[in-house]
Symmetry: C2
Subunit: 337 residues, 2 copies
DNA sequence: TTGTAAGCGTTATCAG
DNA sequence: CTGATAACGCTTACAA
């Protein structure tokens, strides 16, 4: 049973010999307090260990300072990197991150958003899954801002941040061709998210235009294990591919490990591989993977800036959709053309 | 400017034709409401999109439902795995996680705890750094519970969860000896945290008892790059070590990569390696690393259970300190003895 | 610049 | 079981 032990503005006021409003004003950035009272309040607060109750402040101001991050697969390199950058930038903007993990449950994004509403979060940033339209509407109606990262949704209102997945697929296809690859393949997960499918379509389209067919295989999640399985399926084909674009770096890591340790293939000599995300492991010398870098910092910057400034419905809808470029990081898993 | 758009209990009460207290009771688990009013309230709430304001509820109940997680290096495999497990279990316990990243600042753990106090968090879980004693006292005095994970601190009050680092060091030393290693080494970071140093001391003590000396090298952080540097330093020695215990898996990954790709060594034939944490990458076939598993789930379980149940100062101090066992995961980076 | 007083949306107490 | 009423800790007109 928690007992009410936190010290209140009232107590500080008494100790400092001023009114409670004086205390409040001292802790409100743009308020008018004389230097003298300010000092006395600050001293009393320090002595008592007073800290403004943001629950109460949020209640009054109708602005909690909370931003809710809705994420699944947090333990994944790309996700945790994005999470890290978002929290840092949110903190710099004076916000505090609330964190909802949607790993183990269904319809969980909706539940997460309800959590955000209950705590009167100023905004929610969705990194995984897609909320039901009705919930989105409720959020917007309640004055809560919404950011969708890599979640192609067509509802107006939320800020949507996406990458040039389709174009990236095209760019890497030409790189493979330039490296002399003849039999291209795309290793995808079964998740079927717009980003993943965008990479696939862009890759196929460009390859076709260059006169090459693409073998596509889809299996499981976007993780390492799925990459191994995909390698087993693809590398036992009669016509073994010699240039494989994996939808994510984790897939690529699994794929490369299987290709090398189970099939004895040499990369990039016998097999060229590319990934997407540029997770830390991609730069490890065991992988040395050519890949596309998620512009993690730029994503976070855009999201936070939009939250800090207006970011309201009265803006033109174009301002609500951002497409960032994934930079091709050239390493050693594709032969130099 | 956020306008007050969230729907309140008042509005629900009017729509349902009952008092606001009836609404409140409907959403308070153990309160007495007739089935009929309950239904009408629920209908009205659903129609209006009402959700209890937890800011206000927390204010009244003096219990916010918020637990603050204080972390640095979130993007690191072990940390993100622990974070994942903690958030899941907190959610299952009906709590919500607030997240403070202490990456880029100094004295930041103290600031993080102040943030926790401002939002009247019911508890804080500290995964990185160590708070100043005065802040710890303030938290405790304010009725906020504190959990320290792997942060050997001697202050009474907080729950302290640690591993058997010293014993683990000993266990792996004997494993190296059994594998026929003659020249042992310990690769550590300069961080010097108690867990890291515990592993080091336990390893040295056991090796000494077994009649072997241990070369110790410390450099940088606990990450991959530091592992590479450590390998460069240790493997160029006249007496090249043939059994290396790395303080963390990330160090081990960097170490192995350098050993193989720069020094052309074969693992485990010419060099045995062990790590600590059992991050996902340790199981990848490129590393296949023998290591100690952090009991992530057990850690989270203990922490959350302690928060849920009393966990107060009136308990005996022994109940505030937990030591869990790190399980040795046997893979292929040490020869079978 | 300061204090007084009226809320913010809840829940807990207490009659009915 | 239900409905007033008083907190909770804060901010913000408004008046002094």
């Amino acid at each position: 049973m928690p007992s009410k032990l936190f010290v209140s503005a009232q107590e500080v006021a008494e100790k400092a010999g001023v009114s409670r409003s004086a205390v409040s004003r001292t802790f409100t950035p743009g308020a008018s307090v004389s230097a003298d009272t300010r000092r006395r309040v600050l001293e009393a607060a320090e002595a008592l260990g007073y800290h403004v109750n943001h629950l109460a402040r949020g209640l009054m101001r109708n602005e909690s300072g909370i931003v809710c991050l809705i994420v699944s697969d947090v333990a994944t390199p790309y996700r945790s990197a994005l999470l890290r950058e978002l929290t840092i930038q949110l903190q710099n903007a004076g916000k505090v991150a609330m964190f909802v993990n949607t790993d183990r449950s269904d319809g969980s994004v909706d539940r997460a958003l309800q959590q955000a509403i209950r705590y009167r979060a100023d905004a929610s940033i969705i990194l995984s899954g897609l909320p039901d339209k009705s919930i989105t509407q409720l959020c917007l109606r309640s004055g809560q801002r919404l950011v969708l990262i890599n979640r192609d949704d067509d509802q107006p209102g939320p800020l949507k941040i996406n990458l040039d997945d389709y174009e990236s697929g095209g760019r890497i296809a030409t790189a493979f061709v330039r490296a002399g690859c003849k039999r291209l393949a795309f290793a995808n997960s079964e998740a079927g998210t717009p980003s993943l499918m965008g990479r696939e379509r862009g890759f196929i389209a460009a390859a076709t235009k260059l006169g090459l067919e693409v073998v596509v295989e889809r299996y499981g999640s976007t993780g390492y294990e799925a990459g191994r399985v995909l390698a087993q399926r693809m590398l036992t084909r009669a016509e073994r591919p010699d240039g494989v674009f994996c939808a994510t770096d984790l897939l690529a890591c699994g794929f490369m490990d299987a290709a090398r340790h189970q099939f004895g293939l040499s990369i990039p000599d016998q097999l060229c591989v590319a990934g997407f995300d540029d997770i830390e492991q991609a730069s490890w010398s065991s992988f040395n993977l050519t890949t596309f870098a998620q512009p993690v910092m730029a994503i976070a910057t855009r999201a936070v800036k939009w939250l800090a400034t207006g970011g309201h419905e009265d803006e033109p809808e174009e301002a609500h959709s951002v497409r960032l470029k994934a930079e091709l990081i050239w390493r050693g898993s594709i032969r130099k053309g």
